[in-house]
Amino acid sequence: MTPAEMNLVAELAVSALLVAGGIFLLVGSYALARLPDTMQRLHGPTKSTTLGIGGVLIASMLYFLLAEGTLSIHELLITLFLFLTAPVSANLVAKAYMRRGGPQAGAGRTTHGRPTP
């Protein structure tokens, strides 16, 4: 079955997931530009991006299932690696930032309460 033969509901579902995923990815990146503080900026890429990628991956699985008739399970692996790497990289950035004395200097304006040394 070619993509052209996909029925309308399947097409709508895949498109909706792609658009929703794209919106969340965009918001995650926009958070980097909008939020003023390094610690706050980390929230964008660790969260919005996860759901954004998740939406695109579910859309991909759905597409291969409905249009090609094959079950594609690669996507689960991407999800797994994302769940493993996102917290670790966020943690490393946060640690490096705090070791350099960041929260006191940069975030005094917006982040209340500093970490105890």
Partner: protein, 163 residues
């Protein structure tokens, strides 16, 4: 005998599963290779993995996974709304400290990862001396509530999984 062949049964299962997922098709060849890799890798690397996480309560693992997946969706929507519709100056960002009741390093790692992936919180640092996690909240008018939620929602369940 079983212990010599499978020093880390869970690791063996995980490696075999990942191998089959990589092949993207559970053909007999892929399954045989997955079994070989799943036995060989834990056996040859077992020297570097002295500890072994004890995992119990499979029903709770399923429950925990579902709760975390749901929270990730909710957290994404919340964070997106905070980013889009609030002036950044009005966000009450702060650090909170969570005293841990968990002991095993695996459980603490899972908790730290969960905190980062879920609503408005991000694990910034782990303090092995005080046995605490330092968590940054994007918007927390009430820090005690954040700590209570994390302890009740995630840590309690993790304690019954890693015992």
């Amino acid at each position: 005998m079983t212990a010599a062949l499978f020093p880390h049964p869970l690791l063996s299962a995980a490696i075999a599963t990942v191998w089959i997922l990589l092949a993207n098709e559970p053909t007999p060849g892929a399954i045989v290779l997955a079994a070989i890799v799943g036995v060989a890798i834990p056996k040859f690397t077992s020297v570097y993995w002295p500890g072994r996480p004890r995992v119990r309560n499979p029903r709770m693992i399923v429950e925990y996974t579902l709760i975390v997946l749901w929270d990730i969706v909710v957290s994404n929507v919340q964070v997106a709304r905070l980013v889009l519709f609030r002036r950044p100056e009005t966000l009450r960002s702060r650090f909170v400290t969570i005293a841990l009741d968990l002991d095993s390093p695996e459980a603490i790692t899972v908790l730290a990862g969960t905190i980062t992936m879920t609503p408005g919180t991000l694990t910034a640092d782990y303090d092995p001396d005080g046995h605490t996690l330092k968590v940054h909240c994007l918007h927390a008018p009430d820090p005690d509530e954040v700590v209570a939620t994390i302890k009740e929602r995630y840590e309690r369940r993790l304690r019954s999984i890693f015992r």
